[in-house]
C-alpha cells in the first residue's frame, strides 16, 4: 500500500490519531535535545539525524510494576497483575530502532513470554522514518542494515520534499492508513524511488564502515585477546552505553512494600556494566573486573546473541559511542576485533 502525505497534513493526521491512542513522536525538549514524547501535533521533528534517545522506553520501561500484592488477614496473598492496555502510536522511528524493536520482540518471546513487553508491542503501531541524514556516530551499514530498512515497522515514511512517501507494511499499518484515507493522497508511479535516493545519499554520509557481517560467528575468537584492556582501563563502567542502547534488555527485579499488607513487585533497567550485576550471594563475582564487564557487553552484542538467535543485537545506531563519557567508540572496538580475527585466520 503506497500513499503520499502532504507535509502540511501531518498535524491533522496526528490530531486524528490522538483520538484513540497516545501519539509519541520526536520533539525538541527544553534541554535542546530531540526526544520521543507524547505530542500534540505541532512540534514534531521528522527530519535530520536520529535523536540521541531511542523510543525503547515506550516498549521496555525504565521501571514498571509487574504485579501488586495484598496480604489478607487470613495470611493468604492475592496478586493483581499490572496490565497496561493503552494504545500507542510511535512515529518517526529510525530504521535502526525498528530493527532493535524487532530484536526485542523476538528476545522477549521464546519459551517464556514476557507478557508486559509483548502486550505493549501488540498495542503499539510503529511508524518508521527513513533517514535522510545519519548522525556522526551512525554505523548501521556496517551491520548489513540500511537507513531505509522497513523491517519491524507497521508503516514506513520517507521525506520526499513537499510530502512524505508512506508505505503500509503490516495489516495493522495498512488499516491505520485505510481508517484515515482522506488525509493521505494516492502515490505516483515512481514515488518509491525516493527510498533509493535517500539510501544513497545517507549511506554516503555515514562516516565509518567496517564489515561486521563478515565477523559473524568469529567475534568470539577475540575473547582471550588483549584488546579489551585498552578500553577497560579507561571505561568507568557506568552503564550510560547500555541504558541508551535500544537493544539492551537486562533488568533487575525487586519488591517494595507500601504498607504492611500491600506492595508491588517491579523491575528496573539494569546493566552488565554494574559491579553488583553478577555478584553472588557468597561474595564471589564472576565478572569482577572492568575488563570482563566491557567484554561482556561487546560479546553479548556480537557473539552470544548470534549463537542464541542467529543475529547481532547491535543495530549500529552509534548511541553507545555518543553517550560514553570517556569516548569509548564501539566501532573502534570492532576494528580491533576484526584485526584479531584476521590475524587468527592467517
Amino acid at each position: 500500500m503506497r500513499k503520499r502525505l502532504q507535509k502540511q497534513k501531518l498535524s491533522s493526521l496526528i490530531k486524528k490519531l490522538k483520538e484513540d491512542a497516545t501519539v509519541i513522536a520526536p520533539v525538541m525538549t527544553d534541554k535542546n535535545e530531540v526526544d520521543f514524547l507524547p505530542v500534540n501535533s505541532e512540534e514534531v521533528i521528522l527530519s535530520g539525524a536520529r535523536s540521541l534517545y531511542s523510543p525503547k522506553k515506550y516498549i521496555f520501561k525504565q521501571s514498571e510494576s509487574m504485579y501488586d500484592y495484598t496480604i489478607q488477614d487470613s495470611g493468604k496473598v492475592t496478586v493483581k497483575e499490572s496490565c497496561e492496555n493503552e494504545k500507542q502510536i510511535i512515529m518517526g522511528i529510525r530504521p535502526c530502532d525498528l530493527h532493535a524493536i524487532e530484536y526485542m520482540k523476538e528476545f522477549y518471546s521464546g519459551k517464556y513470554k514476557d507478557s508486559y513487553i509483548l502486550r505493549r508491542l501488540e498495542n503499539s503501531v510503529l511508524i518508521g522514518l527513513a533517514c535522510t541524514e545519519p548522525s556522526t556516530n551512525c554505523f548501521c551499514t556496517s551491520l548489513g542494515n540500511s537507513p531505509v530498512d522497513t523491517d519491524g515497522s507497521d508503516i514506513m515514511m520517507a521525506d520526499a520534499g513537499s510530502f512524505y512517501f508512506v508505505k503500509g507494511i503490516t495489516e495493522k499499518g495498512k488499516k491505520l492508513i485505510e481508517n484515515n484515507k482522506d488525509i493521505f493522497e494516492d502515490s505516483q508511479e515512481d514515488d518509491e524511488r525516493v527510498l533509493s535516493d535517500i539510501k544513497e545519499s545517507c549511506e554516503k554520509a555515514i562516516l565509518e564502515k567496517i564489515d561486521v557481517t563478515a565477523l559473524k560467528n568469529k567475534v568470539g575468537s577475540a575473547y582471550n585477546s588483549d584488546i579489551w584492556k585498552k578500553y577497560s582501563d579507561i571505561c568507568v563502567n557506568c552503564g550510560a552505553c547500555t541504558f541508551n542502547c535500544p537493544t539492551c534488555t537486562c533488568f533487575d527485579v525487586a519488591d517494595t512494600s507500601r504498607s504492611k499488607n500491600e506492595g508491588c513487585h517491579y523491575r528496573t533497567w539494569d546493566t552488565c556494566q554494574n559491579f553488583a550485576f553478577t555478584l553472588h550471594a557468597s561474595g564471589h563475582n564472576p565478572r569482577s573486573t572492568s575488563e570482563e564487564r566491557l567484554r561482556q557487553r561487546v560479546m553479548h552484542k556480537y557473539q552470544y546473541t548470534v549463537d542464541q538467535m542467529d543475529q547481532f543485537s547491535c543495530t549500529g545506531c552509534g548511541r553507545c559511542t555518543q553517550v560514553c563519557p570517556v569516548g569509548i567508540s564501539m566501532i573502534a572496538i570492532l576494528k580491533d576485533i576484526k584485526e584479531v580475527v584476521d590475524n587468527g585466520e592467517e
Binding site: 484513540d20 495470611g75 521464546g110 507478557s115 506492595g263 550485576f277 552470544y304
Partner: protein, 295 residues
C-alpha cells in the same frame, strides 16, 4: 474499532507466582531450615526433574531462586531447604507455619537423569550444595532398580553445619549405598574425616571414594559424578578428577550464577551464550570447558 484484547490470563504471565502455604518448618543446622510448601488447588501436579529450581517470593521483600529438594506428590507439597544467607532468605527464616510464600517454576534443565540409568552415581557436595542433590538421591531410591550403586561424598565446615544427618544415617543402611563425610578442620568430639571434600576424590587419601578407587575399573567407567558447591570447591574436585583421567562428559555440575528472573530474560545469569537459568544450572564438565569462565 477493534476491541482491546483481553489481557492474557495470569497463568500465561511467567512472572506471576502462585502462593503456597507453609505447612511445616524444621530446623536443619544452625543456619538452615526445611520448609514444606503446600501446593494450592490447580497447581498440585509438578513436572519436575531433579536439579531444577523454583523462584520463591516473599511479598515486599524479594524473590530468589531455590532448588527443589523434594517433591512429595502424596502430600501435594514441595520441600525447600534454605540457608540464611541474604535479605530474602533471612526473611523466609523468620516466617512461620501457616504463612504464604510465592512460588513459580520449576525452571532450568535439571540433571539428565535418564542418561544415568544403569550407572553408578557419585555425589560430591560441599556445605549446602547437598540440598539440590537430595532430589537426585530420593529419585535414586524411588527408582532403585534403574540404577547401580550410589555414593555420597559430603563436606561441611564443622559438625554443626552438617545437613541431612538423619537421612544420611538411613541412606547408609540401604543396599548399594555409601556415605562419607568430612569436616574442614579437626574438632573436639569429631572422630570422622577432616579436610576438604576434594580429599574424598583423591586417590591417595585413606578414606577415598569407594566407587572411584576401590572397585573394578569397569565400575569406574560406568559412573557419573555430580558436583554441587561453590566454584572454589568444584574447581578443586575437577582437578582431582582430571588427575585420574575421569571422562569429562560423565561429570555434572550445578552453577550458582546470580539470578533474577529464572526464565532467560533479565540477563543476570548470562554466561557466554548460555543463560544459566534456562540452559543450566546443570552443565556437564565437557560443556563447561567450552564455555566462558564467567561463573
Amino acid at each position: 474499532m477493534e476491541k482491546n484484547k483481553k489481557a492474557p490470563s495470569i497463568n500465561q504471565n511467567p512472572y506471576i507466582p502462585f502462593f503456597g502455604k507453609l505447612t511445616d518448618i524444621i530446623d536443619e543446622s544452625h543456619v538452615t531450615k526445611r520448609f514444606f510448601v503446600e501446593l494450592p488447588k490447580g497447581h498440585e501436579k509438578v513436572d519436575f526433574i531433579p536439579g531444577q529450581f523454583f523462584q520463591l517470593t516473599v511479598p515486599g521483600v524479594g524473590e530468589i531462586p531455590i532448588s527443589l529438594s523434594d517433591y512429595i506428590p502424596e502430600k501435594k507439597s514441595l520441600l525447600f531447604c534454605i540457608a540464611n544467607t541474604g535479605i530474602v532468605t533471612n526473611k523466609i527464616h523468620q516466617m512461620k507455619v501457616g504463612e504464604f510464600i510465592g512460588v513459580r517454576g520449576p525452571y532450568g534443565n535439571g540433571f539428565p537423569i535418564e542418561k544415568f540409568k544403569g550407572k553408578n552415581i557419585v555425589i560430591v557436595a560441599g556445605g549446602i550444595g547437598l540440598f539440590p542433590l537430595r532430589s537426585v538421591i530420593e529419585y535414586y531410591f524411588r527408582n532403585k532398580n534403574d540404577f547401580n550403586k550410589l555414593e555420597v561424598l559430603y563436606g561441611a565446615r564443622n559438625p554443626r553445619e552438617i545437613i541431612f544427618r538423619e537421612e544420611m544415617k538411613s541412606w547408609r543402611l540401604k543396599k548399594d549405598t555409601t556415605c562419607k563425610i568430612t569436616i574442614d578442620k579437626p574438632e573436639k568430639g569429631w572422630d570422622g574425616n577432616t579436610g576438604f571434600v576434594c580429599n574424598l576424590v583423591d586417590k591417595n587419601y585413606s578414606d577415598s571414594s569407594e566407587i572411584l578407587f576401590h572397585c573394578a575399573a569397569s565400575e569406574r567407567e560406568n559412573t557419573v559424578v555430580l558436583v554441587v558447591g561453590p566454584p572454589v570447591m568444584f574447581n578443586s574436585i575437577l582437578k582431582k578428577l582430571e588427575e585420574i583421567n575421569f571422562p569429562d562428559d560423565s561429570v555434572y555440575l550445578s552453577l550458582e550464577n546470580h539470578m533474577k528472573c529464572g526464565i532467560g530474560k533479565c540477563g543476570h545469569c548470562n554466561c557466554g551464550s548460555k543463560y544459566v537459568c534456562q540452559d543450566g544450572p546443570i552443565f556437564s564438565w565437557k560443556e563447561l570447558k567450552t564455555m566462558e569462565k564467567e561463573y
